[in-house]
Symmetry: C3
Subunit: 209 residues, 3 copies
């Protein structure tokens, strides 16, 4: 039950990022809500298609209602509040939270289906970030994957952490919560302190061409 609420929360958080990413003068409720839903449902849809299991929002249409409602609420909040300057940063933190949840869900779903640890890591990571990548492609934003601050490192290390905790005596729900918090806080620190990889893992040359 607690897990179920987390799943809905994750979808809501991603829907919010979709609206935050695309809200502009003259854009309307419906277009933004749809973009929010694509962001919220896109990664999990890809995950379920790759794993060849029924798509999660077909099984449980609450995900549709929650993502639509979260997108609509964000739209109206944006009309009445003055968070314009903070919008881009807010988007990043919500994205971090959404990615954290979806990574761990994807890991758990993949392992539960009997797949191996490497497959679970890859599924966790790729499908956790896929909804956000669709959002960035549709809105024409630079893809967060290629951002300067650590972006993929928190989900990758968090997925591995979860894989390890899951093999201990720990309650799986607690292990999941720890991993989600780890990913969220790690990525948030990366945004806040502009953390990046050590120099030898960063390209220093100017390859613009």
């Amino acid at each position: 039950m607690g897990l179920y609420i987390f799943g809905q929360a994750a979808v809501a958080v991603f829907a919010i990022t979709g609206v935050l990413a695309a809200v502009r003068k003259d854009r309307d409720l419906l277009g933004l809500v749809i973009l929010g839903m694509v962001t919220a449902l896109g990664g999990g849809t890809l995950r379920d298609m790759i794993l060849d299991v029924p798509v999660f929002w077909i099984e449980d249409t609450n995900y549709l209602a929650v993502s639509a409602a979260a997108g609509a609420a964000t739209f109206f909040l944006m009309k009445i509040t003055i968070i314009n300057e903070a919008r881009s940063r807010l988007l990043l933190y919500f994205d971090a939270l959404g990615v954290a949840f979806f990574c761990i869900f994807a890991f758990e779903k993949t392992i539960t289906l009997g797949h191996s640890f490497p497959v679970a890591i890859i599924m966790s990571f790729f499908t956790g970030m896929a909804g956000g990548a669709m959002r960035d492609v549709i809105t024409g934003r630079p893809n967060l994957l290629l951002t300067k601050e650590l972006y993929a490192t928190p989900p990758l290390t968090g997925s591995i952490l979860y894989g390890i905790l899951r093999n201990t005596e720990m309650d799986p729900a607690r292990a999941g919560l720890i991993a989600v918090l780890f990913i969220f806080l790690f990525r948030s620190a990366a945004i806040f302190f502009r953390l990046h990889m050590p120099e030898w893992l960063v390209n220093q040359r100017d390859h613009e061409h």
Copy 2:
């Protein structure tokens, strides 16, 4: 049989929009035909993958031939006619017609497979617009979903209309035709009269950042 011809027509119409969207100096027949086919077949392919049924153009390769032929015919027409100024508008009207057909097909296919009304609405709407979204992403055009004029409202209301008509005594083919016309005419009116949502459903603030 009538329905079958409509399916092929819908594919042809979308293939035309793909070529119209990308035709430029120095671009060749094959690249444009392929882009037309991606536009024409992309949404239905996604629909069938989500619904986990065999992909429609694998089952019936006429769709491949029709979309390729429509794209090629458009290419040669563009070489000999002077519709340059009208091209962008023509693209919008053809897109409207393609979306109208694909929405209703996706609704019908989803309901026939035993899924619920909300799932059918979402499938109708997302997969009806997906081929056009792929076209816009590949050609680097701004996504129509975020256009100023009503874009998603006609398919959404049209799908709901079809869902209602389908539950009456009405002949399904007639209900489908009415819904397709409704979506096409509604969207055409939106393009022609620059219809948009009422002010309170439109973001008025400038959030460019």
Copy 3:
């Protein structure tokens, strides 16, 4: 066995193109390796989802390791070598090789599953180029499909050639190798000599609008 090594090589080659396409100042190892993996695995993932068979890298996780290793090796090579000016051209030739391999693999897989010749041609062609299209979309590069030089012609003719050779007495591995070489050399010639289609198959008018 020989075939297996070719499959891994094809994945490696595509991973290299992903890193070459996106390497820039301040981008880090992990982001680039992930983009390389999306390029390397994206087309085959789409192919397997359309054909409704288990995704190849879930069945055999060596593909994950090889694509990650190839991307990482490219990253470090880019740090220590001076191939900046040649990078764009190198990317095109590696892309040509990757496309050649993936087209023939997709053709073979599709035919082996009992599908018809037209379906195999389309699968060969669309999924052979899909990983590269994902790379171009994520990095915001102009799509190679709409490039001036022959891009889709070599895979199309090469797939047809392979379809014909496969029906002769020829050893399938040899037929595949000939087709891969044919596609690679044809496309390389197109890049090097700036080959394009005959005038009547190229749009001459300026449709920028």
